[in-house]
């Protein structure tokens, strides 16, 4: 027993000396930043990927070759929700100029940790209800971008001469944010086909593509023309299924979300199963926050990112997207910016205005 204690003591001392040998922060004028993500990580080809892209862009590097990763910026993925607070504290203790968290699931943890570190600057996306002079919050007008892809899908169906086309929506975990996507999309579709049938489904998970794939297969078999997934990594299942069916010669489409997912849907040359993507330019907010830090102008405020601010948009990367659809999207874009078209943010409002059908699974807070 005595021996054991001695060994343990020696080990502890050795370990301490070892652990103390910390790498020095790189001598650079550029700010340092850490991105904290949920379990899906920056490979979600969507939301987290966009935040990461903004960071990498700020340092003038590419996602393929992030040379300064580990010295100026890094990313930590939390495997489960009880790791949010410890991961935030770990980051704050290690002293970064900015700590970025993505998504509303982090709001509680950030609200808990931010007051403990008043000199540490934080940034969060999709949250506008936290208070604290050290938290910069970005909130997006997703309903406006989703309206555009709804218009694009419907116009494409019209150009293809589809009779009574049906449209699908797949969400991740239902929430007020995802409801904005669904309401905008449905309004966009209905602006072209006022009586189109809409189906929707929530996977209750951001990382289960198999659920979206099974649902997409069932819908496509049932005559659904186009499916928009706002479900993080889960939505990749929709794209995979659309790819399979398009390769087999079936005329069905998927719509990407957050990032331009055109390249994910490519199955042959320039042919992609992703008709368009609702672009939520999260990279613009991480970029903006870092620029503010560098300029010494960081303020803990809520920043609204709408279509007029360049926060949301649609992708015209797919060459098969018809000119009529593009023209209609551009028109809708102008109308939204000018205020001619008002896209609702909540299901309740949209329902009250008769802009969307009853019976969707969208939830408001």
């Amino acid at each position: 027993m005595k021996k054991l204690i001695v060994i343990l003591l020696v080990l502890t001392v050795a370990f301490s000396a070892f652990a103390q040998a910390q790498k020095e922060a790189a001598a650079s004028t550029k700010p340092t930043v850490r991105l904290l993500t949920d379990a899906t990580g920056i490979d979600d080809k969507s939301f987290n990927a966009a935040a990461w892209r903004g960071i990498v862009d700020f340092y003038g590097e590419t996602v393929e070759n992030p040379a300064s990763k580990g010295t100026l910026y890094d990313v930590i993925t939390a495997a489960s929700a009880d790791m949010y607070i410890p991961n935030l504290k770990n980051a704050a203790d290690q002293g970064y100029d900015l700590i970025i968290v993505t998504g509303f699931t982090w709001a509680d943890a950030l609200g808990e940790v931010a007051p403990l570190y008043p000199n540490q600057k934080f940034m969060i996306v999709d949250v506008d209800w936290l208070s604290g002079a050290n938290i910069r919050q970005y909130i997006y007008g997703e309903e406006q971008g989703s309206y555009l892809v709804g218009v694009a899908a419907a116009m494409q169906a019209k150009a293809d001469g589809i009779e009574n086309p049906k449209f699908g929506f797949i969400g991740g975990v239902p929430s007020a944010t995802i409801t904005k996507f669904e309401v905008g999309y449905v309004m966009g579709v209905l602006s072209v086909f006022p009586n189109a049938e809409i189906v929707d489904y929530y996977a209750n998970d951001w990382g289960k593509p198999e659920l979206a794939k099974a649902q997409a297969k069932a819908w496509y078999d049932n005559g659904v023309y186009c499916i928009f997934s706002a479900a993080g990594g889960t939505g990749n299942g929709t794209i995979a299924q659309a790819k399979e069916y398009r390769m087999a010669g079936k005329n069905v489409w998927a719509i990407g979300v957050d990032s331009d997912q055109y390249s994910d849907g490519i199955y042959e040359g320039t042919k992609s199963s992703v008709l368009t993507s609702m672009l939520k330019l999260v990279e613009n907010s991480t970029l903006d926050a870092l620029q503010k830090i560098e300029a010494g102008a960081f303020e803990g405020v809520v920043v609204q990112m709408d279509m007029v601010d360049g926060g949301v948009g649609y992708s015209a990367a797919n060459p098969e997207l018809s000119d009529a659809a593009k023209a209609a999207c551009e028109q809708a874009k102008a109308d939204i910016i000018s205020g001619k078209i008002k896209v609702y943010k909540t299901y309740k409002e949209a329902l009250a205005a008769g802009a969307v059908p009853a019976g969707l699974s969208a939830l408001d807070d």
């Binding site: 993925t77 410890p86 203790d93 002293g95 509680d108 609200g111 209750n204 998970d205």
Partner: protein, 371 residues
């Protein structure tokens, strides 16, 4: 001759001691797992030193940028280890009685859900956390005991039943939590402060009194299993059910009771995670946390004993806290899962060692016979 015997004796006794000691083989297996992981890290071109350093920081802490030693990492490690140990006890307890309780996850979810429902629905009172923990333990026991009764009375496979009940628990929890006050799609209203567990020693971390409760649970486990008549019956049932039945042990009762006690540990784990500082609001679960399943590995490494499970749980806590540290050093967090997986696989070496032991015994007998 006599001096020769002296030099031979200690050497043989080390190997025999090693082969006979489950603790020593477990340690060897863990070291082997780390060794292979280090080689893997080196093979993919990362620095193995960083892996070790992140593990060390999660064990002893680190000097922060203000030059003060920061023990918060240790606190987080110990806080993470609480659910690992408790769910490990779940698996270990069932194993000792010859049952395979895959339902730790479900029992964990039930405990968590009941605790948050109680905390949110009942008017807060001082010491509310005690009621939350007790209720969670009780409901975890009921959830596990249900399977025990089915198994004992109707020979329903406890493996299938517990796996299925995991899903029932998860989606049932969603159903209930969505209807709690202040619930939206991913969280409920804030938990009352009276329900939260008191932090101690390292108040900046999530380390809280659940750590002592977990140690108490280990003692309870050891006491029931090793020191009571009930525990003797459990172990006898686990070793040979039919023989136990012949010796007049009530096997049916034992199986039901064992699953209930087993589930109680996981129910407690669920409440400890919820109230342990990582959450300020109740949870509307969208996926499993995985602690229940990790408990299986913890029990395997800990060889189903109280002390072993405790140590193995701490080890898993170290690995979990190290995840966020190693990612800053360009080591993928998945390496911790590889280590855990390797350890579980290498545990199978125990059977191999058993063979060696038999070989050695045979050789010895032969040698003595030929003398």
């Amino acid at each position: 001759m006599s001096s020769n015997e002296k030099t031979l004796k200690p050497r043989r006794s080390f190997i025999d001691w090693f082969l006979n000691s489950n603790g020593a083989t477990s340690v060897a297996v863990v070291l082997l797992g780390f060794l292979v992981a280090i080689i893997l890290v080196a093979l993919v071109g990362k620095k193995p030193g960083n892996l070790l350093r992140s593990l060390l920081i999660s064990m002893v802490g680190q000097k922060n940028n203000r030059g003060v030693w920061n023990f918060r990492y240790v606190g987080e490690t110990l806080a993470y280890s609480v659910p690992f140990v408790l769910t490990g006890l779940t698996m270990a307890f069932a194993c000792r009685v010859g049952l395979f309780n895959i339902g730790g996850e479900g029992q964990y979810v039930v405990g968590m859900t009941v605790a948050q429902a109680f905390a949110l629905l009942v008017k807060p009172f001082p010491g509310m956390w005690i009621a939350c923990l007790l209720l969670a333990t009780l409901c975890g026991a009921l959830w596990g005991g249900l399977v025990g009764v089915l198994k004992a009375k109707y020979q329903v496979s406890e493996v299938v039943a517990t796996i299925m009940l995991n899903y029932v628990a998860l989606y049932g929890s969603r159903l209930i939590s969505l209807n709690l006050p202040g619930a939206n799609t991913y969280k409920t209203g804030p938990l009352p402060s009276q329900a939260l567990l008191q932090k101690f020693l390292i108040p900046t971390s999530n380390l809280n009194i659940a750590f002592f409760i977990m140690i108490f649970a280990c003692v309870v486990y050891w006491f029931i299993m090793e020191k009571t008549r009930l525990g003797f019956g459990f172990r006898a049932t686990g070793l040979n059910k039919e023989a136990a039945r012949c010796s007049g042990i009530n096997v049916v009762k034992n199986i039901g009771l064992a699953m209930a006690i087993s589930g109680a540990f996981s129910g407690l784990a669920g409440a400890c995670v919820l109230l342990g500082g990582a959450f300020t609001s109740g949870r509307v679960l969208s996926a499993q946390d995985g602690y229940g399943f990790m408990g299986i590995a913890v029990a395997l490494v800990g060889n189903n004993t109280a002390v072993g499970t405790f140590i193995a749980g701490i080890l898993f806590g170290i690995l979990k806290e190290a995840q966020s540290i190693m990612q800053t050093m360009d080591i993928p967090k998945e390496i911790t899962y590889i280590i855990q997986g390797l350890i579980v696989v290498f545990i199978a070496l125990r059977s191999g060692l058993e063979l060696i032991k038999q070989q050695r015994a045979k050789a010895r007998v032969r040698k003595e016979a030929s003398k």
